[in-house]
């Protein structure tokens, strides 16, 4: 997915008369930092976190992480459908923001709920399946954040693409984490699940189409070779 992106981006970037990424990047920064800024403002006393402030911060961080991760996962389908190849240049920033909120989500839980009682954390991880899957998602996302740089991308080459496919199970774990703590109203996690199914489903369809094309191309090549042999 990513190995051919550099050239595509370069080509797309040159073709565009103006550079939309230059305008969009600050917008992405502002949009992604807004939920954090709002929470910080509320903690500072501008506005209210409501009667259950820990829950408010915890849920805001968790849901924002999911929201941004879903946008990150929408980049590839959107790019392919619109041919706006420059979209790809926003993906790392989005992915890192999803990670940023996931870390804040965890820190809120560890600091405000557990008060850094690590034995309690271990009990939660081993006994509460929704926390187990949530922690797994966090741990799996660390290598993706670390290797998100151009240097690591170059160093890992094809393996980088493979490694970053971890984002698919991470997203699934995110939905499961949400679903497993809802009491009865599954509407919200259901919406995330349906959107994720669309985002991942697109990739599956796209991948199968590419497989078919490459098989056909191989068959054609083999036929051509066979024809040449007969002719000779």
């Amino acid at each position: 997915m990513a190995q051919h992106t550099e050239s595509v981006i370069a080509a797309g970037g040159h073709r565009a008369a103006r550079n939309p990424v230059a305008i969009l990047k600050p917008i992405v920064w502002i949009a992604c930092l807004a939920p954090f800024a709002i929470i910080v403002a509320k903690i500072a006393g501008f506005g209210s976190l409501g009667p259950n402030p820990v829950e408010e911060v915890l849920h805001t961080m968790g849901k924002t992480s999911l929201n941004i991760l879903w946008v990150t996962l929408a980049v590839t389908p959107l790019r392919k459908l619109t041919k706006w190849n420059w979209l790809l240049r926003l993906r790392r920033l989005l992915g890192l923001f999803a990670f940023f909120y996931l870390v804040l989500h965890f820190l809120t839980y560890a600091a405000l709920d557990l008060r850094f009682d690590w034995s309690w954390l271990w009990t939660d991880i081993s006994e509460r399946p929704y926390i187990t899957v949530g922690m797994l998602a966090l741990v799996l996302m660390i290598p993706l954040a670390v290797t998100s740089t151009k240097g690591w991308q170059r160093r890992l080459g094809r393996r980088w693409t493979k490694l970053h496919r971890l984002v698919y199970p991470i997203a699934i774990l995110g939905v499961v984490h949400f679903w497993w703590q809802v009491k009865a109203d599954i509407l919200q996690p259901l919406i995330y699940a349906v959107l994720l199914a669309l985002l991942l489903g697109y990739r599956l369809v796209d991948w199968r189409a590419r497989e078919r094309r490459s098989r056909a191309a191989r068959r054609d090549a083999a036929q051509r070779r066979g024809g040449q042999a007969v002719g000779r």
Binding site: P51, W180, D185
Partner: protein, 317 residues
């Protein structure tokens, strides 16, 4: 059969401890006030037109802790008939019509029928009772409720010997309750207690909070407060009381029987299958306050533990 048996034993004739103490309380408050009119306002309970119950007898068993702010109590609610978000009831419950209100009494009792809210309240003395309130979601509040012991009301209906349980139903009117359009739970919302639990002097039929009429989002005009059980047992906006011989169906138990039992007593030693019940987050305590330990029977063990003697509380969660 059941009817014949009751001719010999009349459960309604037994004076409960709470009724006994109530009379003393009334006398004491009347003496303290020194004025008969003031005392009579407390005596013949009614819904005050201005929404303020005025001077109320302070129940001596109230918890010492500082009650939660009125705003906490009235903006952070689980009342799925008005939406599943905590803020939804406060936003949406204005469509609830609480006057006129009546309650249908059915099942194993002599005096079944339809009672208006005025009928229900009239002979009772309202009290100001500060209780702990513990939600199954592991948050809690301290709430100054206004009400009177449910048992005093139930006795007026002369339950028969066959009345081993009491079931309660919430209003089920989609035109007033937008949340009923979604099948989140099986409507109408219903809850139940054993007769002993229902007659316990701590079980409060509640009409107010902070000396004022209950806001709609808190279950106006008439709700239950069973302080040693998880909050969902304390059913709101009651329109029917049903005496029954068999254990009644309860909405959360119907939705997820492995997670919400019939008893649903607050118990720090029995976790919800998905989360711990050992501690709770006290609402209004601020962002940096630690969770507090959850108490057995929500701190009412001395009063209610006897109800469950010999019962395996792990199995009967």
């Amino acid at each position: 059969m059941a009817r014949r048996r009751t001719e010999r034993i009349k459960p309604s004739e037994i004076t409960s401890e709470s009724a006994f103490f109530n009379r003393r309380e009334v006398v004491r408050s009347a003496v303290a006030l020194g004025l008969l009119p003031a005392a009579s306002k407390a005596l013949g309970a009614a819904m005050p037109p201005d929404g303020d119950f005025g001077e109320l007898a302070k129940w001596p068993g109230s918890v010492e802790e500082e009650p939660n702010a009125f705003e906490d109590i009235t903006t952070y609610n689980n009342f799925y008939e008005f939406g599943t978000g905590k803020g939804d009831p406060a936003r949406n419950a204005h469509t609830l019509e609480t006057s006129p209100w009546s309650v249908e009494v059915t099942g194993e009792a002599e005096k079944t029928g339809t009672y208006t809210l005025e009928d229900i309240l009239k002979p009772h003395t309202l009290e100001d009772r500060v209780y702990r309130f513990r939600c199954v979601e592991a948050w809690s509040m301290i709430v100054p409720w206004v009400g009177f012991p449910l048992g005093d009301l139930l006795k007026r209906f002369a339950p028969l010997a066959g009345a081993r349980y009491v079931q309660f139903f919430t209003l089920n009117d989609p035109s007033q309750m937008p949340g009923l359009r979604y099948p989140v739970l099986e409507w109408p919302y219903r809850e139940g207690l054993t007769m002993a639990e229902a007659m316990h002097p701590l079980t409060l039929l509640t009409v107010g909070v902070y000396g004022k009429v209950l806001p709609n989002q808190n279950g106006a005009p008439l709700r239950l407060i069973v302080p040693w059980k998880y909050g969902f047992k304390s059913i709101k906006s009651i329109v029917r009381i049903h005496f029954t011989e068999t254990q009644p169906k309860c909405s959360w138990n119907m939705a997820a029987p492995q997670e919400y039992g019939f008893y649903s007593n607050v118990n720090p030693n029995v976790d919800h299958p998905r989360w711990s019940q050992a501690t709770e987050r006290r609402l209004g305590a601020g962002l940096f306050s630690p969770r507090v330990p959850t108490l057995m029977f929500n701190g009412y063990a001395d009063e209610v533990a006897d109800l469950y003697r010999g019962l395996d509380l792990v199995k009967n969660y």
